[in-house]
Every structure is written in structure tokens, then in C-alpha cells.
Symmetry: D2
Subunit: 410 residues, 4 copies
């Protein structure tokens, strides 16, 4: 490979053909202008046999080779060359050395003292801070790095564990193909209900990321039922869903629409401001529950059940409610902690919170996005949350059916 | 009005303020560069009193004045000047004299021999053919005009009856405001169900215009139930909905997706071609019902119940099925006949057929469009079907809920 | 009005018919279940004459009457009953008395000591804090109210000045009708360019609210040109547009897409993290300009020109950049200050920031929303920014054409 | 394979790994419940070496095996078993034997008398009619089959030639990834212009499928320029684009919007009916050009240049114009003939015509879809036109830029 003098040897193992790893690897090398030479390949002869490949990757320039290798690591490629993970110290608080390794949302390992070691946490776009003495490595957001921290750099001694493509008749497999508004929703919802049962039985948590359209469309009672019946363990949202939920509980309206008649009520505009004021006057949502003024709805059930709630502020908030975290960095950190232990994430009608949560979720957390706008699903996948499956449908009808399939009283 | 020497005197009567007629008239005159001088105005003092206005309209040029008057007629303006409707002969078959009057979707009258006479039929974009001797006038599509027919021209002696805005708590009023995906659907669907009951009780027909997504999404059984239980009297669709309905009935798939499992079936592609072939080999859908091969679904119920069905062809059709009318002019004419006696139109997931049907419907026919894409509703309104109210939601969940609210067995 | 014993007398004056005020007033009364009795009406006889109406409004209950009156005030209705604005003290910091008056985005006056007095500031959903002794009143967000502040309550002694509908051939009038993706964009863009010139000539500011799609689509250079040439005076955005702008300036990519070739660059993922790191290591964007590392793009031009920039944080931010305001309440306040003196707002491809800014803008600020998704425009109007006109088109092609029409070098 | 007693041996050859053929084959077998046993595999060691695989496929039932084999043929799988293509006679005109082979949009061959023979024509969803004596086979739509025709059935003796994935820096490759409204359009348009030049230089035709939004948005002159300058050889559309084009040429409006001012003209409604009438009175569009009445626009240029035009009717047509083919089966056939020799298809703002044309195009015809609605592109791909690449953008700005890049005078 005269014109491509820079090379590395890599290996791939597992279901590298039927999980599409090998063709992706070939594609990536060629897309990035590299060359390859397969030195060994063993293809599994039937579906239970894994495959193995060993090949040299070549590039015209070293940084091109590094790019290729970085890209291949996403697919589980392992550098044959020996050697531990390399680190360099962070130059100042919140900043990184130049060639820092940026994480994926797949489980990651680093070689420390010759042994492959799990990196604690799985989240995309973080950096690996290595404690060589303790033989440990953790993921950390850039802003939380301290000057002098040993930051993993380059690619040597780092590998990720790609997700094997599910082969069994997976609850979710029917949705994997594409975003479509035309497929039978009823079946999809039944599968989601089954998945919720399974996740709960395994002792994992179910996260809902919820937008205010849930309240506007009259579906707050369904979300409340899910909380009451133990099918919702972590709730992410913004000021708006809490405001409108409380507005609905206190005045029967949402954004000025009477939820029982569907008719606009002039003064509904006032109602949401009055709901905010009622909470602010009491001091907190919690206080409003304590005084007995707030007696139903999502927030009421959430506070009663003591589930984890993160309400993150945004610049379009009125009020906001006292429980809303107006510092976005702090809110992000609480969401990061909130996703621990989550086995299933269901995101309904909220693009901002869905993308933010998607950034925090490991790829193995099953993720469903329900939105009437197909673009939201596409956007999430574009941003790296490739495991997300979309259901293009109506929030209210979705939640009503879900609650019915689960057999819950509302 | 020196610079505006051309003038006409018009009168307006009815709920011209609270039905927004008067401000629209003022707007229109000014938008078109005209001037006005109100000579008399009597405003109803409370909601049950009608109002009256008389005014002169001026323009700088005669054709501008004609344009203004044409526009005002839509709002019920009546020329004070006496005189019968003017006509000129059609120059050849299917063609019109220059200044032909083009109809709106509102009831229209012409002055014949000094008497206001109803024009038979109400449909937009048609022309008025006058039979002066018989004292009759009818609407006719341009293509059906014969050379020599007396075609109404200009504006004199023509008036339309604008719709009074509903004042009572109308089933539909809550939806009138706008297209929104956020309002409570459950209430909207309950209102539609009530309206269906009312329309049926009044002996009027219910028209469904239906797209193939109904079958793809697993909702064919709900539409079939509506037919079986007498809530669907006229059905408009294309080749696709019939093909996929028959595919679903024969093979359990729609576009290759198994409707029971939601999983793609390779060969579903073949299935829809095989469904077409089964019908073509039998000779017709009807023949397939007769032989007992087709035993369920929308087409089965429609043929059994003997309701009116118009399947209109398009250039994307496979096959097509023998019952599909491939001549679009003929299909349009059959749809024109099919809308007679219809009191409520429900259009689901089909833009082309919905707009085509909207063109044929009088403005007083209540029209609901159900589509997951808000643009479809906007487009229909843009094309003149201003009475259409939109429900941005999922076809399957909509139909399921509708059938449930109506209490039908599926 | 036996069944409607509660009444108030109101007056309306101005272009109340051709600005659609009177029919809206009638509608509102009836929609809210009230009755009216017109006691006097004078209709302008031609377009330059204003009209006047006096009427009694009745309701069955007092709070219903208050709701009706509150709704009518939006249209400029003035209570005939004498009397100053009523106030009650705020019960605690950040909370309000029960029947507080919530503002619209129209200019507002209160009657203080018998004289109508302008309320400082115009912004929706705020409250009026009255300083009776000083004879002054100001709008304030709920969160900034202090215990004991005199908050305007009820409706007496409060009126708003509705916008007269533009009658002349307004640059914007052609877009007023509706959101449409089908009308000629070229004409719309030429009108916007003319409006920009006019606003600048009048010494008012032009605000751009900008989303990252501007950079992704290769349009950063056009926005940079607008800043350089003095057509952009205030810039609102988030972390993402700044990050990708700097990524593009430093590496030629945006979200990993090479902006010169359009091809994805593996490692583009790394690029945006590296851009963030470059800034954080330098300490600020400003520092990166100072060191000569950042030499082009939107942020570079903005910092060089010293225009007002507000970068508001959100929970989906990576990094974030040091200049990003992570406290959303603080960011909102800086945006509130930033809109002072703005005569034209152009919002491109960013729903969150557009709605947030829409909430802050007085109704008389001309507002254009450019987005490829028609739903964004609808949503802004739904939230009360009714003056917003939408252009459903591509951000890059819009900005390129705008810069070309303005005759700017890029 | 005890539980899977039915088996066939297949071979695959070519770029079966980097063109993703092999993993798709494995996927398909498993998705359809089959099993496989690889007996031989040779993987190309670098990008220029092709690969080869031989394997047995097993299924539990014979029709399942047939489904699997049918699915694998799409990827170029060839049955090892010897034997000619099997045929059975069509049972009646327009109908097929049960197990007819339904074509893909890839080049197809049948084995006749032991020799692989090209099947004439490439189009999806057709059937193969075999003339064994002449040693020929042709594709034919179901409706054109005559009783007794020898229709290919089953899978033996049939193979398709899959498209090799382009490896070189293809003009289109940058768009292949996904539908995105965020990528640089300017680059995409430049690439399309280059492709147009190349296709024209190779003597292939360029097809435009055009919707009326082109005229509404003021872009008719750009399309006209493309015809005049020889960059548009075949034009597909409907009644609407021709009507509005002629309306614009005669009256300067489109759907009642003045294209020079962007302002609605009351009477524009009349204008489109008058345009139709002008044509119908003259007898044809051609006659209107002959008389000198129609002197500009798309139809004018198309008739002058003598390019191939197919205007297909639909049920929403007004008029229609005499040149419009109201029989959809006939229109489809003319479109089928029109796509012969086409090397590039550009579809703008028309879902119905785009899908209809997509059905007719061989997969190797490069296809670009320009629409502001991303769903249109997705839909086309869902319907099997997988080669289509989408540009989510504005029709007018797209055409203006295209004409500018090509250096044409408008």
C-alpha cells in the first residue's frame, strides 16, 4: 500500500455479518479514503455461530488513520497493537487536552495495566477520566473536568461493546424498521405495555419524558394513573407541563381550553398565570398538595408517590414554578442522575426534553418517542440516539390505549 | 368620488356584523382599491336582531368595479339596480362566453323575469345555465355545457345566500377556531358521533372519503362496522383502499405488513398484486363476494349493504380493480351525484380525494378532515372548502374511538 | 335582561368595523354566554372616518361579567364607569393578589387620579405595578414582584390600545393572510429587505433569533454579512448555533458535515466537542477572537461589531460555551432588555427561542418567522404573537436571497 | 435441519459485503423464520476484489421457502438448481396464474433453453411474459396480459442484477444518507446541475415531474428556461400545473395571487377558470400557441420545443384542458413510454405524480425529489423507489438556483 503508508491492524468478533458490523467497517474505511486488506475471516455458518475478522487498515496520513480507527471503534474494532490507554492532563478546569477521546453511548472499556477495564457510566460526548493507580476509569462531562485530571486521548487501549442486533421476536423489533404513521398502532402499544411490565418485573425503572400537549389534549389523568399504579418511576418535563397540569387540576382548563367541553374559556390565559400564582403563593407545588388545594393530576400523584421528578427550566417559561430548576447545567446533571437504573424511556410530545434525555441515555435503554410530528423521531436519531423507535401518533389516544391495555383504573 | 367614477349601489342584510359580513365587505373593497360610501346602516341591538346596510361602491375602472362586486356577492351583497340575470350563448361545446359567472359553494339565486329564483345545485366553480322560458337555472360544469346554452354573465341579477354563523352551542363550534393537534380529541370525537346520529336521524347521508392508511393502520374493521351498522351511506376512495382492504381480508396483510403481528412479511408485495389478481380473475369485487372468497372488510360490507361506492382511478394504481373508474371525468361526475343528500362528510387520510370531494360539496355540508398531517386541512381550506374542520390525529385511533362512542360491535 | 342581571357599559372607538373590532366584540360576548344591547353606533361612512359604539354588556354572574370585560379590553373596550385602576398589595415576593390583571402585548394605560397614564413597557403575561404617588405604572414579571407592591386588579381603570389594521400597501400585508409554502418567496424576501432598510433608517433595531440549522445549511456567512453591514443589531440564540458556527470557522464542518463538500466527515462528532474545548481552554469566545484563532463566522462578526448577543442555555447543550447564560430566568431578563428598541424581528429555524422571544415582543414589532416547518408559525400565533407572519422556506436559500437583495458582499 | 426440511441452494457473487448484500440476505432469511448453512465463502480482500458465497437456505414449509427465495432474488441470489424459467398460461385477459412472478425495479434475466436472457424493460410490479420459441421475455402490466400468455411463475430460472453501491465520489452520494432539511442545499444543487450536464452529454433524457406549486411560487419561468435551453426532455404533470401556467401567462396570476406583487387579486378564482375557458374555446393549448395568444410559460416552451409532455388527469381537475389525458390507465401507459431513455428524474412538489413515476422507473435512474415536506421523500422510498434522494427545500428557490448554476438566461 505505497500511497497509504500508515496502518493499524484491527480485529472484529461477534455477529459481525448479521449485525451489519463488517459491511459498515468496509464502508467507513472507504468513505474516509482508507484502504483495507483482510488477512483472516471466519464467517459463522449459521445464526448461532459468531464470526471473526482480522484486517489491516491503511491511510495516506496519520490523522486520517486516526479518524478511521476512531470511527471503527464504534463498531467494536479493537486495535491489535498492545498498549494501555493513553492519557494527558486537563489543561484547566472544564477544558481538555487536544486529542481527547469523546465517548459514544455504548459500553466502553479501557486497557489499564494490560487489563480491559469497564469505564463507569455510559453516555455520549463525555470524556474518560482515568485513575491509573486505582485501576479505574469514569466518564465525565467536559464542564466537570478538573485541571490535571488524566484524560484519555487517542484510540489505543480503548474499545466499545457494540449492541448485538436482537434476533428473537423482540417486542420492539416491529418498529425498528422506520418511522411510519401508517402501521397498526394498536399492536405497537400492546408491545410497549408488555415491555413496561417486563422492565418493571426486572426491577428497572420506567422514565417518561412528557410535554404539555399531554395536558392540553386531556391525557393528564392517564399519566397520573401510570404514576399511581407504579408504571412511571422517573418523570422529566419542563415548567409548562407542571403549570398546565396544575391549571387543569385547579380550574379545569389547559391553556384556556376547558378540558371537559373543549371550548375556549376567555380568561384561560389568566388561569395559567393564576395557577402559577397559587403555587408561588403557597411556596411550592409540594406546599399546595400539603394544604389540600392540589388534589389531582400528574404533579399531585408524582409528589404523593415520591417518584423522581426533574422539571427543567427554559427561556419561554412563565413564572416559573418554584420546583423548576432554572439552571440548565444543574438540571442536566439531575437528569443524568435520574436516568440511572432506567430500562425503558418513553418520550411524549416534547422535542427539547427528548433530545436532551436522548443525549444522556446509554444505547441499550429501549427508547420510544411518541409524537404526531415524524420529524422529532428523525431528529433524535440524527443526534445519535439511534436506538429510539418512533410512534407517529396522538399523545392522548396513545396514553388512553396504553392505560387500557395495562388494565389500569383512571 | 372624482377619481372613482364607476359605482354601484349594494345592500346587505342579516347578521352582517356578528357573522363578520360587514367588515369583510369593507376589507374587500379596500383590498381591491375601491372606495365606499355608507348611505344607511341599522345595527341589530342584540343578538337576535338582524342588521341592514346600504352603500355605494366606487372604483377607478369598470372591470375593477366588476371584480369588487363579484367579490362582494360572496358575502350576500345584492345589487340595488334592477334587472334580470344577463346571459350569453356558449360559443361551442364545453366552452363559455368571456364574462361567465363562476359559482361559489353557497346557495345561489338569479333574478328571472323580476323574480329571485333558486339555482339548482350548489357547487363551486360551475356556471349557471339559464332556461328563461321555463323560469329555471341550473349549475353545470364547463365540460358539460353545449354550444348555444344561455350562460349567466356579469353580476347583475345574481346573489348568494351566505351561511349565518352558528350561534348555538354547535357540536362543531369547538373545532372551528383552528387546526390544532393539542386539543382534546376525545371530546371532538364524541361531538362527531353525536353529529352522525343527528344527521342520520334527519334522514341525511353520511359520506366517508377514505384513504388506504385506514387499512394499513388496522382500522378497516372499524370502517366496516360503520357500514354494517348504517352510519356510512356513501364511500369515496381510490384503487388502493379497495386493494389493501381485499389484501387484508384474503391474506391478513396490508402493503406486506401482517396486521395481526405488525411485522413485515416478505411477499406482502406479492400479496397486494395477488389480491388484485384474485379480483380480476373473478371478474369483479362483487363476483369475489358472490363466490364466497371475500368474506370480510370494507368492500365486503359495502357491497353487502348496497351503499353507494365510487372508486376513482389514479395514475399510481396497480391493476386496477375492475370496479375502479379510470376515467377521472366520469369518476368526478359520479362523485357529484354521490354527494346529493349528504349532510356530513368525514374525510380520512387522503388528500387527493378530500380536495376533490371538497370541490363538490356545498358549504353547508359539515365536513371533518382527519389526518395526521396538519397541512392537508390547511390545503382544503385554501382551496375554498372553508367549512372544513380538521382533526390532526391518527386514523386508526380516531376510528376505534368513534366506533366505541357509537357503541358499535366490531 | 332579567336572566342577566350583571351589567357594565362600554365604549369602543376607532376603525372598529374595518379593523374587525366590533364583530369580535359581539362574538366574544356571545361566546362567553353574555348579552349585549347597543345604545349608540356611528359607522364611518368611508375609509378615513372612524366609528364609535356604546353598548351595555350583561351576564348571569359577576365573575362571568368580569371575564367578558377582561376579554373585551383586548379590543380596546373602555369601561364607561368612572374610577381609577384598583390595586392590592402583593402577598409575598414573587406572588400576586388573586384577581391580578395579566397584560397583553398591546400598549396599555391605567387611570391614575382620573388621568389615563401609559404603563411603561409592553409585554404579555406581566402584571402592572402602580406607584400612585408618583403617578406611574410599570409592567413587571411575577417573579420580580416584591411583597407589598401595589398590583393592578380587576378591570376598571385599565385599557389597551388595539393595533389599527394597516390600510396602505404595507410591505407585510401580502403575507398576513396565512401560512403558505406556495406563494412567491422572492417577493416576500424583497419586502423584508425593504422593511429592514426602513427600520434601520428610522433608527430602530433589527433582531435576529437564529437556530443552528443556519450553520448546518451553510448560511453562516450570510448572517455574518448582515452583522458586518449593519443589518443585524441584536442576536438571540442558544449554545448550539455558537458552537457550530465556531466549529465551522475552525474546522469547516457543522455537526460533522463538511460544509464545502456536503460529505460527512467521521470525527465531525469530535469537531464540535473540540470547538467547545477550544473556547473553554481560551476562557471565552471573546478570548478566542483576541488570540486570532477565531477569524470568521457569526460569533466573530458579532463580537467585532459589538452588537448585543444573548446566548441562552438549554438542557441539551454540550459544554456549554462560557458566554452561554445557563440560568434561564437571567437569560429571559437579558432578552427582555435586548428587545427594547427593536422594530423588526426575524426568527429563523428555532422554535424554542422564537416562542420565548415572541412572548417578550410588543404586538407592534413586525415579526417574521422563517421555518421549513409550517407548524412553528402556527404555534407562535397560538401562543399570542398574532402579529407574526410566516415564511415556510429554507433557511439557507432565504438568507442567501436576502443578502443578495440587500446588495451585500459575503 | 430437522425442523426445516425444505431447502434450496443459492449463490451470491459481486460486492456482496460492501454493497451490504450478504448481511441483508442473512437478515431476510432469519426475519422470515428460515435457517441457513454457509457452505463456501470467499471475501474480497480489498475494495476491488469481489466476494462469493454459496449457502443452503432452509424453511419449515414449502411456501415459506418460496417466500424466502423470492425475497433473496432481490439481492441477486441465484438458485443453484438447474432449470429454465417456469410458465403457466394466463387464465383470462388481464388476469394471471396464481404463483406469478412479480417484478422488481432491477434488471431481470430468465433462463430460457438453458441460457440467461435479459427480460425487456425494467419496472416494478409487472409480470414476465415469455415467448419460449422466440427465446424472448418481456415485462407487462397485469391489465395488458392476454388469456393464454405464458406468464413466468415461481422463482426457478429467474434472477435480478442488484445495483452495485457506488464507490467513487458520486455526485449523488452526499445525499444518499438520509432526508435532511439541514444540510447545505447549495452544494446539492450544484451536484444536480453537474449530473444534468453529464446525463445530457451521454445522450440520455432528463425527466421533470412537476407540481403546480412551481407556478404558484413564481418559478414557472425557471422551468421554461430549462426547456428552452435543452435541459428538460420529458415533462410529467397534471391539469393544475398547465392551467396555472397558462393563467400566469395570460393574466399574471396563479390561483388568484398576482405573481408580480404577491397580493391576492379577487377574481383570480375567475382567472384560472378563464384560462381553462380560453384553451377550451381555442380547442387546445396548441391552438392557443398557434393563434399567438399564449406567448410564454412552461406549456408554451414545451410545445415550441416539441418535448414529450404527459398531462395526467385527476378527479380534482377543473375543466380539464383538452390535452389532459383523463383516462388514468392510458396516462400511465404514456408515462411508461415517456420514461424510456430517461437517465435522470427530478420530481418537484407533487406527491401523486412522483409516486406514480417512481413506480415506472428502473432503479438505476437517478431520482431527485424536491419537496418542502419531508414525508413525500419517505413515502416514495417506502413504495419501493429506494434510489430516490430527497431535497427538503423550496421549489422556487431550488429552481432559481439550479438555473443560475447552469448559467441559463431566464
Amino acid at each position: 500500500m505505497k500511497s497509504h503508508p500508515y496502518g493499524e491492524e484491527i480485529t472484529l468478533r461477534g455477529h459481525i455479518i448479521d449485525s451489519w458490523v463488517l459491511p459498515r467497517v468496509f464502508d467507513t474505511i472507504m468513505d474516509l479514503g482508507g484502504e483495507f486488506e483482510v488477512s483472516e475471516i471466519r464467517v459463522g455458518r449459521h445464526k448461532d455461530e459468531t464470526s471473526f475478522a482480522r484486517m489491516h487498515v491503511f491511510a495516506a496520513q496519520d490523522n486520517q488513520l486516526q479518524n478511521i480507527v476512531a470511527a471503527l471503534q464504534k463498531y467494536g474494532a479493537e486495535l491489535v497493537s498492545e498498549g494501555d490507554v493513553q492519557t494527558r492532563p486537563a489543561p484547566r478546569d472544564g477544558a481538555l487536552p487536544d486529542d481527547f477521546y469523546s465517548s459514544t453511548n455504548l459500553p466502553t472499556q479501557v486497557r489499564l495495566n494490560g487489563r480491559w477495564t469497564d469505564v463507569a457510566g455510559t453516555e455520549m460526548d463525555l470524556v474518560i477520566v482515568v485513575d491509573r493507580e486505582a485501576g479505574r476509569a469514569v466518564l465525565r462531562p467536559m464542564a466537570q473536568v478538573r485541571a490535571g485530571d488524566a484524560i484519555a486521548v487517542g484510540h489505543a487501549g480503548i474499545r466499545v461493546i457494540p449492541l448485538a442486533r436482537a434476533r428473537t421476536s423482540d417486542a420492539f423489533s416491529f418498529m425498528m424498521s422506520a418511522v411510519s404513521s401508517e402501521k397498526p398502532k394498536k399492536l405497537a402499544i400492546a408491545d410497549i405495555a408488555r415491555e413496561m411490565q417486563a422492565v418493571r418485573d426486572q426491577g428497572e425503572k420506567i422514565l417518561f419524558v412528557a410535554g404539555p400537549a399531554i395536558v392540553h389534549s386531556g391525557a393528564a389523568l392517564h399519566l397520573a394513573a401510570l404514576i399511581r399504579e407504579g408504571f412511571l418511576h422517573v418523570l422529566f418535563g419542563g415548567n409548562a407541563i407542571a403549570v398546565h397540569d396544575i391549571e387543569a387540576a385547579l380550574f379545569g382548563t389547559s391553556l384556556g381550553i376547558n378540558l371537559a367541553s373543549g371550548m375556549p374559556v376567555e380568561g384561560g390565559h389568566r388561569n395559567h398565570m393564576q395557577a402559577i400564582n397559587a403555587v408561588r403563593r403557597a411556596g411550592s407545588i409540594y406546599a399546595l398538595v400539603e394544604t389540600g388545594e392540589l388534589r389531582s393530576g400528574i404533579m399531585y400523584e408524582a409528589l404523593r408517590a415520591g417518584i423522581e421528578v426533574v422539571l427543567a427550566g427554559s427561556i419561554r417559561d412563565d413564572g416559573p414554578l418554584p420546583e423548576v430548576i432554572t439552571d440548565t447545567a444543574l438540571a442536566q446533571q439531575q437528569m443524568r442522575e435520574g436516568v440511572q437504573g432506567v430500562g425503558l424511556a418513553i418520550m411524549i410530545s416534547t422535542m427539547l426534553h427528548s433530545i436532551a434525555t436522548g443525549n444522556l441515555l446509554p444505547a441499550e435503554v429501549k427508547t420510544v418517542i411518541v409524537d404526531i410530528n415524524p420529524a422529532v423521531v428523525t431528529k433524535l436519531a440524527d443526534r445519535g440516539t439511534f436506538q429510539a423507535v418512533g410512534l407517529v401518533t396522538d399523545a392522548e389516544l396513545f396514553l388512553r390505549e396504553l392505560v387500557k391495555v395495562l388494565g389500569l383504573a383512571v
